[in-house]
Subunit: 207 residues, 2 copies
DNA sequence: GTCTATACTCGGATAGAC
DNA sequence: GTCTATCCGAGTATAGAC
């Protein structure tokens, strides 16, 4: 049970990821100093450089591993050949559920793109567009199948992702609504944006 | 036509607002230095302090005057007693049109809340909630009148604002779509989220 | 791997001349 | 109102001991 000093519990690199994720999400990348991250981890600032070459690489690591994880998780969640309405619903529920325990990473990936240097930006942007493409392609399939009515699938995909990302600006675990309620509300809203859903869900009020 | 040196064209204070708005929107408040703003304006950094007591006050000024302007503009745009569906449509068109020439300010007001010190945050947050309340109250009126179907007006209001704010992340003047096209697409999407609209708009695909 | 110490740069902000 | 010069703290990052 004896441990080498400095390696108690999680590996330091992981604790650095964990703490910097929190801090970047709360204050923004540029507003967080390496000293601050180090203090949160419980080491000196210089020790961070044993694990990451610099601050920028730390941000890039966080964003890339988040996007990788998101896409990998969706890959194993997606059901090939599923009807578009179900696929969209599955995606929204997946997205909200997946990001529930990762709100900081989602927030950063959405907000800190501009803090990335060109090289890292391109890498992350490619993954981000892949995810956007997942949404867009579901919308396209729905339009082709005649079950969605979407004027512009690309814009609609971005609007949906923006809507979902916005949850982070107000969601708190002890808030008025629990996660499954939020999940339900957003599923409905997204289906509406896509012009799908049972008639009575969408139109009874207007009749 | 002779002018005192340093007062050519717009007042310096306004030029400072203008340039810092651009820079804050592009790079984030924390990532922009006073020297950078000064260089963009064409003065020395120290000169900025003739117009604003410090960097934080500059940000607060930008955000407060934006929110004030937004609310004032909506006040003179809103039509008392208008039907909820028309009011919501008017709001979306107003919002998109208003923010078209002010995308930087909208972006900052949405993204830099966390950069405000507590005192300034409260002031801005109050105005922000007022605007959120405008959307929410239109939704509530629509629900009461039976023309909207919204599960949770507060969340729906936030989702709508997030959707509209998201436009800034991709809208470019020379992009694929012009502003009136975007306006139309978003008006439709927002009406759908609110569960409103003519039946054929919402439901023909599902019939 | 982590520490202390430090190099070096850049940040916000101020003083005082013009 | 703007300038030059400067203060001082904080930033990232490195060197070298342990």
């Amino acid at each position: 049970m004896a441990r080498i000093a400095g390696s108690i519990g999680a590996e330091t690199a992981d604790r650095v990821r964990e703490q910097s994720l929190k801090l970047f999400a709360a204050k923004g990348y540029a507003a967080v100093s390496m000293r601050e991250i180090a203090a949160a981890v419980g080491v000196q600032a210089a020790a961070l450089y044993n694990h990451f070459p610099n601050k920028q690489a730390l941000l890039a690591d966080l964003m890339l591993s988040h996007m990788d994880g998101l896409l990998a998780a969706w890959d194993s969640e997606a059901v090939a050949g599923e009807a578009p309405a179900e696929a969209l619903q599955r995606l929204v529920r997946f997205h909200i559920r997946y990001h529930a325990g990762r709100s900081d990473a989602v927030f950063i990936s959405y907000m800190e793109l501009r803090s990335l240097e060109p090289e890292n930006f391109m890498k992350v942007e490619k993954l981000r567009q892949t995810y956007e493409g997942v949404v867009q392609s579901i919308l396209e399939q729905g339009v082709e199948a005649g079950v969605f009515r979407v004027e512009d699938t690309r814009i609609c995909a971005m609007a949906i992702i923006a809507m979902l990302a916005g949850v982070n600006t107000w969601y708190r675990q002890k808030g008025r609504l629990n996660l499954s309620q939020i999940e339900g509300i957003y599923t409905d809203m997204v289906l509406r944006v896509a012009g799908a859903g049972r008639r009575e869900d969408l139109c009874s009020a207007a009749e």
